[in-house]
Point group: C2
Chain length 390, copies 2
């Protein structure tokens, strides 16, 4: 392999991602989906031209971090406050329903067993994997539709952020139940979450003041977007490294903190250009790139298909019905449920943990990746349909 | 180390690079120099906060590739044609003088010996390392001064490109002389160079036509800069992988091929934003990051200092005097000579090769890195002074 292989990889990814998103657009398919399909085609699933590398993985991660930072920057703080309680309840319901349905699904395939048994724990773990929303694809789809900062969009994004936190807590409880002594206590995890958000908000005021001063003095200077991006990277780093919270959540919080700055559009534009020129396509194509259909027997294929369907349906039910109770009309409730369907790397990380704990075998990775792939493709298409029906 | 260490690294690099370039500006120091110094301070030479990683190395390489692509895009084709012959002669003279002076320097320290002897070969190899210009820092400095597409700027850039090619040929000859059977023949290398440039120009016409059509149909669409960037990456990849030519030369050629496209400014702007937001600071800071002053005894320190001085002076003499003969006035000749002083990764790669061939010991790396560092800092400062004197 050449030592500049990454140049070839980037050229192929950027070109095919753009090409597929243009072709997809002609058929009314969201651009994001086109880019994911591009990754699927050039990856090991079909052509095998590009193999995922450590470098591409990091570029993809930077892509999703920039995406979430932009989502944060675009936040309407009034809307966020208004949607806070509703989003929390929707997130809770959206975690519990997939958890239960995932556990039941596992046991209907592999036999029911009493709570606490190994089989039950395996089922519960699969449910835990199902419960983790990754909202980045939805964010990209809503951005494409221009609906990101409306009530439904804000509700989805904030519910997904809360979902992320619930996911960590749930993972801690489940791994705790499975009797792993090395895992942290639920209290420690909760404490970390509280400290992170309290700390981010407290320091956020200072950061906001400093950045506003900088921006007031040097409006439309490069230093403003660059410093903002540094802050985003730093908060993402701190969240992931010291608080067990996903880096993308940290990036989103950084964006929210800066969302009222005067030069917000100027910052967002610069991040957006950097993102769409290189990082974002690598992220979207990366989802397809990871997928491989090798080593699937019929029984496991059946299970995987059911797994994906249950994963999608359970989120729509869990979040959608709760949204309806919260006073959203049926159309908007469906949008909220659909928007929460997307799964991403959090599911993979959870699965990875399950592998380490012996609660999962490696085969299940294929099912999880399939869930990520299908939900990433189906959600933007459904959202586009739902919005155009109104 | 955290698995999101790169977020921390990027945050620190971007922040300090911007900070140092702002502080530097107050003292009249070019931004580029500020960014290199930032790398020196956060790297192992001083604070040791950031350690160079494979990821940062690739980001830096992408940064310099984008920089050279921009330089190519900004080319004035008339100027390039006009400066062609002059640039070739300047490049030749700029290779020969450092080669001779480097050899003499080595032998004045370690004893003179007849041509063909081991000591002579070692000296010749050190001269070869000295002869490789890396123009990226000069490009950045000239861009900052707004002088890149003028006659002097074009001459420097094209001379440096030719210098790169001469460097490969010279390296082949020297390694051939040292009796390494595994090295390619000079003829093969020459043939590859010819095929690359002929191929790039021939396919370049087609690429230019296609891109012009795309641009005419979709002016100011994202697809134009994205496709251009793909082309740049691809040509850089092909140059490095199949023709033994530096990737940055490939990127520059790609830029030159697209330099007459209608949307050139639109493309350049997008590349420029992506570059200054992340990639370029990583490249500039990366130069400082590499540097470490550990393990230097007095004698070797003396040698290193002489090495750096001879490296700088020999390029100014070699290129400057030749430029004077070519009809440039004294001020412009000095600018050409100064602009050609910068050394970069090509010198490192050559040194690496010398290590493999046993012509060099690892100590010399420190001298080479020092040459890169000092020339990268001194050149922009001198250029700025020379231009402000006019």
């Amino acid at each position: 392999m050449s030592n500049v292989q990454y140049l070839f990889d980037l050229a192929v990814i950027l070109f095919t991602a753009k090409l597929f998103s243009i072709i997809g657009k002609k058929f009314g398919i969201p651009e994001v989906v086109g880019e994911i399909l591009a990754g699927l085609v050039i990856g090991s699933a079909v052509l095998g031209i590009v193999v995922e590398s450590e470098f591409l993985r990091i570029m993809a991660e930077l892509g999703v971090i920039m995406l979430m930072f932009e989502a944060g920057l675009g936040t309407n703080l009034q809307e966020l406050k208004k949607s806070g309680l509703k989003a929390t309840l929707i997130a809770c319901s959206g975690v519990i329903v997939p958890l239960i349905m995932g556990t039941v699904l596992f046991m209907s395939f592999y036999g029911f067993d009493e709570p606490g048994s190994e089989r039950f724990m395996r089922g519960l773990f699969l449910g835990t994997i199902m419960s983790a929303t990754s909202v980045s694809i939805t964010v990209a789809a809503l951005k494409e539709l221009g609906k990101l900062s409306e009530t439904v969009g804000t509700t989805i994004v904030s519910a997904a952020i809360i979902d992320d936190v619930l996911g960590i807590i749930l993972l801690t409880i489940v791994t705790g139940l499975s009797g792993q002594s090395e895992s942290e206590s639920v209290l420690t995890v909760l404490l970390k979450v509280v400290i992170f958000f309290a700390g981010a908000i407290a320091t956020g005021f200072v950061v906001y003041k400093v950045m506003s001063w900088l921006d007031g003095r040097y409006s439309h200077h490069r230093r403003v977007p660059i410093t903002s991006l540094c802050y985003c990277f730093l908060l993402a780093y701190l969240a992931e490294t010291y608080f067990g919270i996903a880096d993308i959540t940290g990036a989103y919080v950084a964006g929210v903190i800066l969302c009222n700055i005067a030069d917000r559009d100027y910052i967002e534009r610069r991040i957006d250009i950097s993102s769409y020129m290189i990082f974002a396509p690598v992220f979207f194509a990366g989802i397809g790139l990871k997928t491989s259909f090798a080593a699937m027997d019929t029984r496991f294929l059946m299970f995987s298909i059911c797994f994906v369907i249950v994963a999608l349906v359970s989120k729509v039910i869990g979040c959608g019905i709760c949204a309806k109770f919260m006073g959203f009309n049926t159309g908007d409730s469906l949008k909220v449920g659909t928007g929460m369907m997307t799964r991403g790397e959090v599911a993979l990380i959870t699965a990875q943990k399950g592998l380490l704990l012996g609660l999962l075998t490696a085969d299940y990775f294929t099912a999880v990746i399939l869930m990520i792939l299908v939900s990433s493709i189906v959600t933007p298409i459904c959202l586009k349909k739902q919005y155009s029906n109104v």
